[in-house]
Symmetry: C2
Subunit: 420 residues, 2 copies
Amino acid sequence: MPRFSASYLVETPLDPERAAAAMAGEQSSGTFLKLAGETDALRERHAARVEAVVPLETTKSPSLPGALPGETYQRAEVTLSWPLENIGASLPNLMATVLGNLTELRELSGFRLTDVALPDEFIEAMPGPQFSIPGTRLLAGVDHGPLIGTIIKPSVGLSPEDTADLVRQLVEAGIDFIKDDELIADPPYSPLAERVPAIMRVIEEHAQRTGRKPMYAFNITGDIDEMRRRHDLVRDHGGTCVMASVNWIGMSSLVALRRHAQLPIHGHRNGWGLFYRHPHLGIDYRAYQALLRLAGADHLHVNGLASKFVEADSSVIDSALACLTPLLETSNRDDRAMPVFSSAQTIHQAPATYAALRSTDLIYTCGGGIMGHPSGVAAGCHSIRAAWEATVSGATLEEHATQEPDLVVALRAYPSPFSG
Amino acid sequence: MPRFSASYLVETPLDPERAAAAMAGEQSSGTFLKLAGETDALRERHAARVEAVVPLETTKSPSLPGALPGETYQRAEVTLSWPLENIGASLPNLMATVLGNLTELRELSGFRLTDVALPDEFIEAMPGPQFSIPGTRLLAGVDHGPLIGTIIKPSVGLSPEDTADLVRQLVEAGIDFIKDDELIADPPYSPLAERVPAIMRVIEEHAQRTGRKPMYAFNITGDIDEMRRRHDLVRDHGGTCVMASVNWIGMSSLVALRRHAQLPIHGHRNGWGLFYRHPHLGIDYRAYQALLRLAGADHLHVNGLASKFVEADSSVIDSALACLTPLLETSNRDDRAMPVFSSAQTIHQAPATYAALRSTDLIYTCGGGIMGHPSGVAAGCHSIRAAWEATVSGATLEEHATQEPDLVVALRAYPSPFSG
């Protein structure tokens, strides 16, 4: 009988073994009474099982309020497992089982889901990424190196025509990838029905002239029927990517969008801070990105090194490596997601990003890092590409700059976030 | 130009005015450069506006890691507003705007969304609850007092026939409302295709014999197409309620389910602990329940007083009162949700619950509080109803018990969670 398991970092005023038993009980029978119908056979077949409890350090005060009082609070790694039969192949019901009421137990003063392990049957029943890295490279016409990208700014307020004018500049500058900001989807001042044709006219003209068709991720976030219609609009105008705010559309809608989609799905995780900002509450992205990939995301945001956000660099790298690790090793299906780096990225993050990943299977988006280049947008775009070429070839940015004037200018214009 | 606003409890190492300005900037232009296309006219029309900053206490250490360093950290209430034009009438895009990257700003060492205020245009464009309180009462045949309910336990493992046998006991005992646990949706060992007919056969027989048709909330959580099919299955067998794990299906799927539904939607918020357990991270239910109602939830869980979970009683009551407060005062549409009380509820929580709400427009679910009654399930059910009748009439449970033997037994069997 295949089982799935979930690992947690917990903190408890109780003996961790007892806390783990409470967790397992809550997620299989869940009441304070011994139940008439809960036979030994039923329990044997359906109960959650405590697979491992590894005690860690203790702390004097609880990380989260509301828990049972204790003299000290012990942290522990706990792994629980369940028979797959309890849920079938369903992502939202997986979430209800591995998170659910566990998040509110008085036995726990800290609760963080750190990983999930799913049987092949579950993984194979999920749609998974349709395009993944090879499909994205093919559509974007970028066979090696990262996709150099940017985000339309200002985030809000540009008309479709103004946006198309900006896109013209960007594609002429040699960009590989452009995306809408998460703050603009289908608003009355820039409806997709006008924005998509205006932008795709520019991109198609560029493609016909140059043979290169940059990828544009249109933000189609909405109700599922809206998203299906918007996807079709993008597809019908020759667009090659759709984007959605995955936390707000939800797991069920992501699966539904994936089953409908003929284009890669760019998964934007805005709001994710709610899940990771407290070290003893929430979900590790290692666990969550796997579920988003199973639901069908082809690209997933991971922030970037030395970004303007709170996330530690080590967490960013762990997230990106997770996205690049296959879920099913033995399958022909490529179920990796392309990690998307963003937020305050310039030439300077290329070396450290590559050193940590040893891969260029990523989308590297810069705003000011491209648009703010003193010699213009094309030079900005080229300087980022040159920074990655240097890095992959094993040269420093300074060494490579001897052949790349745009990189020289960028080195002078952008201070390194790692120095000082 | 109609605007929507969001209120926050934040904590910051900066002057709170500066932190609020950073929040507004992030959620309308969002880069570290002054942008070419960001004209004054555009900013005037689309920028987020800081509506209020109310400084609160300071603290020595940050509530959340990763923020900019400071000597002290000041808490403050911040209210921002945006033109509705930025998003149109879309719940997932509202979430991206009022939460989004704000959750990761280094300017904030605490971040909690406390409320949202939406213009009538937005509210009217949302489906809202289809049945709300009057529709639920009509379908359940309960014109006054709370719906007395219970949850099928064991949560997992019962076959369709075993579940139907339990339902027979419960409906014969006089229950108004039964629900699946959130841990069981449509698993292979109890597929809805078998569970729904088995249960509805029992309920329909009971209805024909007695004229009373208790409401059963079938957990149809799944992908949106699965949910639509499962909803139809429930409807076609005479069922009167469907349930979904709202956090895992997501806002877009809840809207889609509501637009399809001909039955009340029972919104189960399992996993909600992630959003409220830390006082300086997350979302207040006051804000979130409004969005779930706009998406179409007819019933919403609020935990219960003196429950086995971490939530404080004051928070439970605040949540329930929020569910019972209309969003549009002037409309004919009833957009309240029926709050669902659960977890370790017995006769003893009736008086305090009623004292706080001054309403019986609620679903009061008991597990052991009914099933564990020494005189049996019918006595358990009757004792809960008697406790509420006593409370509404202004009598104490002890006073009313003189006329109610089942209540006498319950008073002896169940210790009060409020005493001692």
